[in-house]
Symmetry: C2
Subunit: 394 residues, 2 copies
């Protein structure tokens, strides 16, 4: 065999995704691009804010000597200071540039965080339904994931269930709010309860247990500001990217930031800078670091997303689909009207509606809708949804 046994296994197990993808491409070829309603990808259709384009033009027209060279593996001091300044507003203790490492997106930040903390066989708790990449990221660094279901009606973390899952081998818990795939936002009281439970468990077990707070959707929140987690949890890292708030997913720009009050925070940051280097990221892309420095308060227009959420939520619930009303992100995670979510997704495909089954998030019996697509497509899809609802007897 010429490739890794584990990688070959992963490819084989994910062949159904490729098959779905190929069937989608076939549908487009048959019915035309505009008649296929693709709700599968978290790839924002919006463009970056005008401030981004302006800054890109300014840098292109006024190149500074050395602006494409290596810098410190942590990233530019000015960029990290700009990130820290904004984070400080939601932190009881001032965040400094030294608490921030610029990374190749949140995917890079998660891998850096996990490599920095994990010893072989240590456990990382993930909350079901979960973003499937978490399992690969933990495995990359010799860790083991432990899945804990959120409340099945609200998708809020079940703090008692998390507490029961914590043992002598637990190193971290990954949370994600606003959540992919459910769109729910965790309120301050929940984060506070999580922080208090973890304080107790860490004392009991005499070990550091980190919260890794994956926050790429933090600025896409409809009801109120997403609470600042540094206020509620001590040993916590924020990992995030500008993929959603500045609509730059292809540019791989994000960061990892540690709570200044974290245990041995200086050592952790030294480890993170080292891991950013030896994982082959080396540093976050230089030009993008410069570009986002002045855009730490900028964001795409979330009213567009809110309108799309309302359009789909209102129409689909009226048709009889059952789902939690999401307060952020750009996903809906309804219950599958058929017990088998894969069967339901296949049925939807016959109506030219492309969806991801809940099974892909460890949550059979649900399906995910990504509504970060053109509103026109959503409008055009409604009659197909009607027919689908009818076919499954809603």
């Amino acid at each position: 065999m010429s490739i890794s046994v584990k990688v070959r296994g992963c490819i084989e197990r994910s062949s159904w995704i490729r098959k779905m993808f190929e069937e989608g491409a076939q549908l487009r070829a048959i019915h035309g691009e505009e008649n296929v309603f693709d709700f599968t990808l978290g790839n924002p259709s919006v463009e970056p804010p005008e401030a981004f384009h302006r800054e890109l033009r300014r840098l292109a027209e006024n190149p500074e000597p050395g602006m494409h060279r290596y810098m410190n593996n942590a990233g530019y001091e000015t960029t990290r200071a700009a990130v820290a300044e904004v984070l400080s507003e939601k932190s009881p203790h001032p965040v400094g540039a030294e608490h921030v490492v610029m990374t190749c997106g949140a995917g890079g930040a998660l891998n850096v965080a996990l490599k920095t903390m994990l010893n072989p066989g240590e456990e990382v708790i993930i909350l079901t339904p979960y973003f499937v990449e978490y399992k690969f990221y933990v495995d990359n660094h010799g860790g083991v994931t432990r899945e804990v279901w959120t409340d099945r009606e609200t998708f809020q973390p079940d703090i008692d269930a998390v507490e029961k899952a914590i043992g002598a081998n637990t190193r971290a818990i990954i949370i994600n709010s606003p959540n992919n795939p459910t769109g729910v936002v965790y309120p301050a009281a929940t984060l506070q309860a999580l922080g208090e439970m973890l304080e107790r468990k860490q004392k009991e077990l005499d070990r550091t247990i980190y919260v890794i707070s994956d926050e790429p959707y933090a600025r896409i929140s409809y009801e109120e500001q997403v609470p600042g987690i540094f206020r509620h949890v001590k040993n916590v890292l924020i990992v995030t990217s500008h993929s959603k708030d500045l609509a730059l997913p292809g540019e791989r720009i994000g960061y990892l930031a540690a709570n200044p009050m974290m245990n041995e925070v200086e050592l952790f940051m030294e480890g993170a800078v080292f891991c950013n280097r030896v994982l082959g990221f080396v540093n976050a892309p230089a030009l993008m670091q410069r570009l986002v420095t002045g855009l730490q308060r900028a964001s795409v227009d979330i009213e567009e997303y809110r309108a799309k959420r309302d359009l789909l939520y209102d129409n689909l619930t009226a048709m009889g689909f059952a789902m939690v009303r999401p307060e952020g992100g750009f996903y809906l995670f309804p219950k599958s009207p058929l017990a088998d979510d894969l069967e339901f997704v296949r049925l939807a495909q016959k109506h030219n509606i492309l969806l991801v089954p809940g099974t892909g998030f460890g949550a059979p019996g649900f399906f995910r809708i990504a509504y970060c697509i053109d509103a026109a497509i959503i409008h055009r899809s409604l009659p197909a949804w009607e027919r689908l609802a009818e076919e499954v007897g809603l």
Copy 2:
């Protein structure tokens, strides 16, 4: 303990590098930036070619919708096709876009290649003196490095020694030509001998043994074109970046390309695309992919580097330093006049000359000079080199 035991160990073992770095910063503070001669970093002082700046202005002024979104994890088809077209010119079999994955630099490409191929405990041969990151990259994916010395006079690969090191657990050998730290270029005959030996060993052991050809300096070659390795080795991957040829090290743009004749090449590329995704790179930075598409034949002016090589080589050998005359890259790797290269490097520091000891490349008794710095600094450093030579009795 709150970080990984292994990472903590790495940080502690590399503390001498940080110490050297801090001492260098101190020297600058005392003597002034222009009086410290820093030969430690492979961070090109040249700027990207004008064609790069032109293309950046064009893209900034004419943004295309969706140009910052996710694309296929392998990268843009057009970018990969442009890379493949240039690679095909030095390949006996046409290279296609399907044989190329765009990556976050050569560091990204190496990690993707290693994760795709390695099972736990499998061995990767590296040639001493070696680029120290190779050891971390192999370890990231559960592999074990096996060091084989090159010829100690010429720094050319010792094919017999490599053959003796190959066993039932060998999965790959990493080569790097033009070489960091020695500057030597491997001639076609050597690559041919390596390829033939590997054909024999692979049959004998009934397993695939890859060559990973790390080629970021391929366009910085003074005597003749670096030979195309697809002509000489069957199971070979090229990993490279535009860090040196387009002077874009901070932008993290490079690629992995497989010989179209490689065993199960389609499966390998599928694995590589998967690994690019799950390692958290996701895709190479989008804007940089667009920028390098039209620059596959562009390069910084290598005559500048040649002049610097000649200036240093001629002057230092005249002073009595012994070294191989490098045919590429931007490094010199002289013998240390003192048996202890760390002691010699400390002595050089007293003359405000900053160097990296050979020990950092697994090769005690040598030291590395990176001459990718301003010619004016090199000129100003010559009297200091004279004094250093005198002090060590050359």
